[in-house]
Symmetry: C2
Subunit: 422 residues, 2 copies
C-alpha cells in the first residue's frame, strides 16, 4: 500500500469485518457509508452538516467535475478538498459510469470512451490514462480505475470481452498512476516543469484587490498531482457470471492496487443476484484490504453485503430520496407528503437525534415539502444521512459484539415490509 | 404596553435610536432586521443558521400560513414557534398585502378583502377581525393590524378614503384583539369552552404508535389564543401625501397600540420619496415605542431610515437575492455567476466571518450556482443574512459611538455605485 494509505481489521463477526482505513485526510471507521457529492457538494447539506451527521468520507463524481468546473481549475484552486470545503477523506469514481449513462453518442473502443457532454454537446474522450490524470488533478484520497460498464443482461461472450477489456484498462490506469508518482517524486515533469514549480496543496491566495480582477490561467497541458498520497482502487467486473468474476479478481489482483471494489452491481439485477455475486467475489479479495461495493444501496443491501465481507459503500439513495420526500426511519420508510402526517407533531424518527428530529415535527416537514420549500430538501437530507450513518455505526458495533445477525434480522423486519403509508 | 412587551431607548445619535425591545420570546436589540420566513421557513436556512447569522427576530406571512397549512393546524401543534422550530421573537404581518398582491379576483369592501386563493382558487374573506383571530392562533409575539394596500400612484381623494378605511380597520383589529385578551383572561370562550380546556403552549405529544395513525381533529370554530403575551402594532398609511400621513398618525395613535409601523412604502416609489415620507412620519410616532418600516429594504434604505428614527425592518432582499446569485458584501453587490469568479479562490466577502465565507471560495459558489445546486441557495443565504445582520450590528454600534453619519456615508460609497460586475 502507499505510505499513507492503510487498513486494518479490528474485529470480525463471521465474514463481516470491523476495520479502520487510514487515508491522507484522516481515518475512516469501517464498514463505512460514503455520501455522494456528485458535483462537489452533497446536495442539500454543507460540510459541517456532513460532519455532524457522522460522515467520515464522501464521494465525488469525476465525470461531473471534469466537465464542470474542470479538473484543471480545481487543481489550480488547491484540489477537491479545498474546493469543496470538505477536509476529510474523499474518493472519486473514474467517471466511466456517468460517461456511459449520461454521455451522448457514446462509442467505446479499446482506446476509451468517446461521448458528447450532456451539458453542451462537446466531444470528449475518456481514456484510462485520462481518468487517472483527472483524478490526480482533483486530488481525492482514493481514485478509481476506469472500467467498462456493460449494460445488463448481456451474452456471456460480451461479458467476457468486457471483463477482459476492463482488466486491460485497469493495467493502463495503474501504469499511469505509478508513472505520475515517479514523476512527482522526481524533478522533471512530462512537460519539463520542475517539481518545485508546482505546489501540491497551495494555500488559498490572500484576497487582494487584484483577486477581484479576471485572472485567466492557462490550463496545464501535462499531468499534475494535487494529492501525492492518493491511493488507487481496482474494480472487479464480470457481471453475474461467477467464473468471470473470478477471472476479473485474478487479473486485477495481478496488477496490484491499494484496495479493490466490486463494480457492475446495483444496476437493476435482483437483490439475490447481487448478494450472490458479492458472496462469490468478496472472499477472493485480500483480507487485509478494504472491499468497496460500488453504488450500494438500501440499508438492507448494506447489511447483507457487510455480512459477506464488504467494508465500503456509496449510494445517492439517502440524499435523492430525501429530496423526493422519503425518509428512512427506525420505523421503516416514510413518505412525508402523506396526508396522515399533516397533524403529526411527533419527530420524523423518534429514535433519531439529528438536528431535524430534534427541532421539527413530521407536520412541519410535510408542510415544507408540500409547499416546495428548499428547507424540505435540506432537513430531510440531514435526517436521511444521519439515519444511514447511524445504521453504519450500529453495524460496526454489532460486529464488535458479534450480534450482526440479530441487527440484520431487525433491519429486515423494518425495511422488508411494504411502505405502510404508500 | 402589554405586560411582556416593552421597549426602551438606550442611546440616540441625531434621530437614530439604539434600543431594546422585549417580547414574550426574548429581547431584540434595535435597530433590528427581521429575516422573512414566508411560509414558516426562511428559505434556505434552518433556525440554527438564523441564530448563527445573528437573527434575533423573524417574520412570518399570515396569508401564506393561513391558507397552508392553516392557522388552526398550527395552533393545535402549539403555535408558530413550536411549528417552525424558531423559539425567538417572531412577528407576523396581517396577510393584507399578500391578499392584495397574490389573491385573485380580489374585491375590497368595508367588510374586508374577498379573494380567491392563489393555491387552489378557493374563496376567502379576510376581515380585520379575521386577521386578528388568525394571528392570535398563529401566536407570534407581534401581530399587525389589517390595512388597505392601495396601488400607487393614486388620486389624493382615493388615498384619503383608503387611509380612513385603514384607520377604521385598525379600530376593529384593536377591538378584537382586546376582546380576545379579555376572553383569555376569563373563564368562558365565545364558543363556550372553558379557558382551562385550552393549553396555550402545549408540549409536543410524546410520540406513540398512535401518533402514527391519522388523527383528524376538528377545526376550532371560535377564536383561540396561542400566545397570551402577543403585542399588536398599528400601521400608518397615507401614501405619499404628508397631510394624510399626519391624519393616519392621529387616527392610529388615538386607538392605541403597543407600537406603530409605517406601511405603504417600498412599493415602487423613488427612494427619495420614501425617505421623505419617513422623515415626515417617524417623528410623529411615540418616542417610547419601536417604529417599524415595513418591507424595507436595501442596506442604504435601512441606514437612511435608521437615521430618521426607525427601529425595525424586514425585507426578502437578502434571501431572495441570495437564491438569484447576488451577494451583499463589504465591497458592494456581487453577481456570483459572473465568469470573473470562476477562478477566484478568495472568500465571497473578505470582511465576513460567516460559515460560507470561512469555508468556501467565490469559485466554488459560482460553480454551485451555475450547476443549479441547492447548496448555492443555502450558502448564499447564510452569507447575505449575516451581511444584513452584521450591518445592523454596525448600525447599533455607530449610534452608541455617535458615528452613524460616517457609517451612512461608507455604506453609500459601497452600495451607490453601479454593480461592478454586471
Amino acid at each position: 500500500m502507499s505510505p499513507t494509505f492503510s487498513f486494518r481489521v479490528l474485529h470480525t463477526d463471521g465474514a463481516a469485518r470491523r476495520g479502520e482505513m487510514t487515508t491522507a485526510h484522516g481515518v475512516v471507521q469501517t464498514p463505512a457509508f460514503m455520501p455522494v457529492g456528485t458535483r462537489g457538494a452533497v446536495k442539500g447539506v454543507t460540510p459541517r452538516d456532513l460532519r455532524e451527521a457522522g460522515a467520515e468520507i464522501i464521494l465525488g463524481n469525476t465525470y461531473h467535475l471534469w466537465l464542470r468546473p474542470g479538473d484543471a481549475l480545481i487543481a489550480r484552486l488547491g484540489g477537491l478538498h479545498r474546493f469543496t470545503g470538505w477536509d476529510g477523506p474523499m474518493l472519486t469514481d473514474s467517471g466511466g459510469f456517468q460517461a456511459f449513462s449520461l454521455g451522448e453518442q457514446r462509442v467505446i473502443s479499446e482506446e476509451g470512451i468517446r461521448f458528447r457532454s450532456h451539458l453542451d454537446g462537446s466531444e470528449h474522450l475518456l481514456t484510462p490514462e485520462g481518468a487517472t490524470d483527472i483524478q490526480a488533478r482533483l486530488g481525492p484520497d482514493i481514485a478509481m480505475v476506469l472500467d467498462e460498464c456493460l449494460a445488463q443482461p448481456a451474452p456471456a461472450a460480451a461479458v467476457r470481452d468486457s471483463t477482459e477489456r476492463s482488466a486491460r484498462w485497469a493495467r493502463r490506469c495503474r501504469d499511469r498512476f505509478l508513472e505520475l508518482q515517479r514523476l512527482d517524486a522526481g524533478d522533471v515533469r512530462l512537460d519539463g516543469e520542475t517539481a518545485e514549480s508546482r505546489v501540491p496543496n497551495p494555500e488559498p491566495p490572500i484576497p487582494t484587490p487584484q483577486s477581484l480582477l479576471p485572472s485567466p490561467q492557462p490550463t496545464p497541458s501535462g499531468p499534475q498531482i494535487t494529492n501525492p498520497a492518493q491511493a488507487q482502487f481496482g474494480i472487479i467486473q464480470g457481471g453475474t457470471v461467477p467464473e468471470l468474476r473470478t477471472l476479473s479478481v485474478e487479473r486485477t489482483l495481478a496488477i496490484g492496487f491499494e484496495a479493490y471494489a466490486i463494480g457492475g452491481l446495483s444496476v437493476g439485477e435482483p437483490a439475490e443476484t447481487m448478494y450472490s455475486v458479492v458472496s462469490h467475489t468478496a472472499p477472493q479479495l485480500p483480507a487485509d484490504r478494504p472491499r468497496y461495493l460500488m453504488g450500494v444501496g438500501t440499508p438492507l443491501d448494506i447489511v447483507e453485503a457487510v455480512s459477506r465481507g464488504v467494508d465500503l459503500f456509496d449510494c445517492v439513495m439517502p440524499t435523492r430520496n430525501a429530496r423526493n420526500g422519503q425518509l428512512f426511519t427506525s420505523e421503516g420508510r416514510l413518505t412525508i407528503k402523506n396526508a396522515r402526517f399533516a397533524d403529526d407533531g411527533g419527530p420524523p424518527d423518534p429514535a433519531c437525534s439529528c438536528y431535524t428530529c430534534r427541532t421539527h415535527s413530521r407536520a412541519y416537514l410535510r408542510h415544507l415539502f408540500v409547499s416546495g420549500e428548499i428547507g424540505a430538501a435540506v432537513l430531510n437530507t440531514i435526517h436521511n444521512l444521519r439515519f444511514y450513518l447511524d445504521t453504519m455505526a450500529r453495524v460496526r458495533q454489532a460486529i464488535v459484539f458479534g450480534t450482526l445477525e440479530s441487527l440484520r434480522l431487525s433491519l429486515h423486519a423494518i425495511f422488508s415490509r411494504p411502505l405502510s403509508d404508500s
